[in-house]
């Protein structure tokens, strides 16, 4: 089939798929963690101020 790649040339595609998955998943994970920690710190600080 035209354009089919075999042998050692395939590893570049495998690496691209794994790196893309790691980078995007890591970015969403990190963003979610930081946003949660910031929001909970604000909420806790406000609760302590009320006491």
């Amino acid at each position: 089939m035209t354009g089919v790649i075999s042998g050692g040339g395939q590893w570049g595609f495998v690496a691209a798929a794994y790196v893309l998955t790691a980078v995007l998943t890591g970015a969403v994970l990190l963003h979610s963690w930081r946003a949660m920690a910031k929001a909970e710190r604000r909420s806790d600080a406000l609760r302590k101020d009320r006491k």
């Binding site: 089939m1 035209t2 354009g3 089919v4 790649i5 075999s6 042998g7 040339g9 395939q10 590893w11 595609f13 495998v14 691209a16 798929a17 794994y18 893309l20 998955t21 995007l24 998943t25 969403v28 994970l29 979610s32 963690w33 946003a35 949660m36 910031k38 929001a39 909970e40 604000r42 909420s43 406000l46 609760r47 009320r50």
Partner: protein, 244 residues
């Protein structure tokens, strides 16, 4: 189920559960990826590119599973008006869209060396692209709407949108059976798997690992929304107390 709709009870479970899901998920994912890249042989037909399976299949599973969860929370919001249902739906949308995008991207990367093309407008790929657009529509619909200002619940329109969008899930699942496709037929069904066990076992690890990470991301996003709601409620009370 009603007992855990209370945000305080929910947080008592979510706070200790989040780091566990995160830690176990990362560990399973690292072991699964290491095994998939180094411990299993290449496929006899597709060669090394078959190793993309270990990130592509979990992405597809979570993209579709995410929308299924969104439809269920939409239904729970409409019928029981659980305060957590809307918060859960909002929290699922971004990771659901992420894994749908990853499924399309890794599928495209897999397609180029295997089929000789990055993209084909066939049933499986097109219906998955529709799912990505559905997520984008849901996020746009629920960003800054009235429900977000009222404790995170979904508007009636957003809940119905989540339910109607679920029609795409069985279409994605059956697309390779209903239409001619470059994409292979179903490899794993309730009846068994057509993938040899020598290649299959790391998939279980990455599926579980990604699922745990997805759960951790959803819990973190739910905790952020609940904390933001509490801040907003306290600021409103303070303003009322001071007669502003």
């Amino acid at each position: 189920m009603h007992a855990y709709a209370n945000p305080t009870r929910f947080l008592a479970i979510a706070r200790p559960l989040t780091p566990w899901l995160l830690g176990v998920g990362l560990l399973l994912l690292l072991i699964g990826a290491w095994a998939g890249l180094t411990q299993v042989p290449g496929d006899y037909k597709q060669g090394e590119t078959a190793r993309i399976l270990y990130v592509h299949v979990p992405s597809a599973w979570l993209g579709m599973g995410g929308w299924t969860a969104l439809a269920i929370t939409g239904l729970v919001q409409l019928v029981w008006r659980h305060p957590l249902a809307g918060i859960a739906a909002r929290a699922v949308a971004v990771p659901g869209m992420l894994f749908t995008a990853l499924c399309l991207a890794t599928g495209s990367i897999w397609g180029k060396p295997t089929w000789g093309t990055w993209w084909e407008w066939d049933g499986r790929m097109t219906s998955m692209l529709v799912l990505l657009f559905l997520y984008a529509g849901f996020i746009a619909l629920t960003s800054g709407d009235e429900g977000q200002r009222q404790g995170g619940s979904l508007s009636r329109g957003a809940a119905i949108y989540a339910l109607v969008g679920a029609i795409n899930i069985p279409i994605i699942n059956r697309s390779v059976v209903w239409w001619n496709s470059l994409h292979q037929g179903p490899s794993i069904t309730l009846g068994g798997s057509s993938i040899d066990n020598a290649l299959l076992w790391p998939l279980g690890l990455t599926l579980l690992g990604f699922s745990f990470l997805f759960g951790a991301i959803v819990l973190m996003r739910m905790r952020r929304i609940i904390a933001d709601n509490r801040v907003a409620a306290r600021l409103r009370r303070l303003a009322d107390d001071e007669g502003i």
